[in-house]
């Protein structure tokens, strides 16, 4: 922990020095001490918006992870379904999900809906494809056991394929968690009345660049925290 804090402090020190030397005007890059001050002064406002973003991220993650796991398992159980869904999933990745944000707002309104959907869309692909790749990569000698036992597809999945796929599924989940808060914020940029993305837009419009940077720092902290929690949970599960 202590070793990791130094590079962060160095970045802040450099940032402060750049501002102190007046290399860039404060309305482009406010000094970090000013940003921290704003962060403290506006803690109520920021905290309230952060909670909204956190709720959207959490709901979207739950939905996306659940859907991703379901899709991967379904594709593994029914190869026909895989021929159907596989290309759709690959295509969905080719299309940047962000361009769907306005459509989602149009369909789901200005509330939680489009943000949760945005996060879920970002999350579902890495989870589904990671887990499905893992499910397809069971070593052949291990699958011999299933053939010897004349095991059903479901039992083979539960007892052999799934345990072997967990590390790859976990890798997909790690990527998904990194994307998730970004999805919520982008959803808020397109149309919202709450959330850190909305706060950033509002601060920008009012030339409150310090508040914008404060919101940015909170998004960063939120993402890091989610990563950390995921890593811990996965490590506890031996992944």
């Amino acid at each position: 922990m202590s070793a990791r804090i130094w590079p962060v402090l160095a970045i802040f020190a450099l940032w402060q020095a750049v501002c102190a030397a007046a290399l860039v005007p404060a309305f482009v890059l406010p000094p970090p001490l000013r940003v921290f001050e704003t962060l403290w002064q506006e803690r109520g406002l920021i905290g309230q918006h952060a909670l909204t973003t956190l709720a959207e991220t959490g709901a979207g993650l739950a939905l996306g992870i659940g859907l991703g796991i379901t899709l991967a398992l379904a594709m593994s159980l029914a190869p026909r379904l895989q021929r159907l869904i596989g290309p759709v999933l690959a295509g969905a990745q080719a299309l940047p999900v962000f361009v769907l944000a306005p459509v989602l707002v149009l369909w789901l309104g200005y509330g939680l809906g489009p943000k949760v959907a945005m996060v879920a869309l970002l999350v579902v692909f890495p989870v589904a494809s990671g887990l499905h790749d893992g499910l397809c990569a069971t070593p052949a000698p291990v699958l011999d056991l299933a053939r010897i036992a004349r095991a059903s597809r479901l039992r083979t999945l539960l007892w052999l394929r799934l345990p072997h796929a967990l590390p790859q599924g976990a890798a997909g989940l790690r990527i998904a968690v990194t994307y998730a808060p970004t999805g919520a914020v982008i959803g808020e940029w397109v149309g919202a009345s709450q959330g850190l993305g909305y706060l950033m837009l509002m601060a920008n419009a009012r030339m409150r660049i310090d508040l914008m940077f404060a919101a940015l720092l909170v998004i960063l902290a939120l993402t890091l925290l989610l990563n950390r929690l995921t890593d811990r949970a996965l490590a506890r599960a031996g992944l």
Binding site: P141, V142, D144, L145, A146, R147, I148, A149, R150, A151, S152, R155, T156, W159, L160, P163, L166, G238
Partner: protein, 229 residues
């Protein structure tokens, strides 16, 4: 129970096994041969497992087969007991606790049920794999070089244990070790030039003691025959 395989085995347009007419009898049948001779292919065909080769002929084998490969195929996320139960779970059958405990005791792993496979030595892992085969209680047991990755003392101990535990079953084992084939085999078959050659087995009970001078002599002779260009 009849276990038999007849016909020819083709690998592409090359014959891997010609004039194949093998009928297994209760006791140990050891399939010996150089790498790539097709002995594993023959074993997998007998066990009904997928192979790159094609059988042009007939196979007769029971539905229930015990299988043990060179890799122990223990599942790292399951405990020793969980691994012992794996085949039963895959078959959708119960394996009662007392029987599981008895099997662990039979292979010398009593009290290790809650350990993880990573806590076991190479020999202990193969013991567990053997216990898993025993748990299946199949009349036909197919072994694909099960002891070839073990060190010499562990291998000898595993041969003794397997011979004791699998007594009365029809066992077919692939090996590239002449000594192992002669120690355990009631029948020893050498796969050479795409043909199965039946070799004279050693006299006396199985497993043949390692100190038996006849064993070393016969193994040397067999090795010379396998090395023949």
């Amino acid at each position: 129970m009849t276990v038999a395989i007849t016909g020819q085995v083709w690998l592409g347009d090359r014959p891997l096994l010609r004039q194949l007419d093998l009928q297994l009898r209760p006791g140990w049948t050891c399939l010996l041969g150089a790498s790539g001779a097709g002995k594993s292919t023959l074993l997998r065909l007998l066990a009904g497992l997928p192979v790159a080769a094609r059988l042009e002929g007939a196979r007769q084998a029971p539905d229930r087969i015990g299988w043990m490969a060179q890799a122990d195929l223990l599942q790292p996320r399951l405990s020793v007991l969980g691994n012992l139960r794996l085949m039963a779970r895959l078959r959708g059958e119960p394996l009662p606790r007392p029987r599981a405990e008895a099997l662990l005791e039979a292979v010398g792993l009593a009290g290790r049920g809650t350990d993880r496979p990573e806590a076991l030595s190479g020999g202990e892992r193969q013991r567990l794999a053997l216990a898993r085969v025993l748990a299946d209680d199949a009349a036909l047991v197919a072994l694909d070089e099960p002891f070839s990755a073990l060190d010499a003392p562990t291998r000898a101990a595993m041969q003794d244990l397997a011979a004791a535990c699998l007594a009365g079953k029809t066992v077919v084992m692939v090996t590239h070790d002449p000594t192992e084939a002669l120690r355990l085999g009631d029948r020893v078959l050498l796969l050479q030039d795409a043909l199965l050659h039946e070799l004279p087995p050693l006299p006396g009970p199985r497993p043949v003691p390692l100190a038996d001078p006849g064993l070393a002599q016969a193994a040397a002779g067999l090795l010379a025959r396998m090395r023949r260009p």
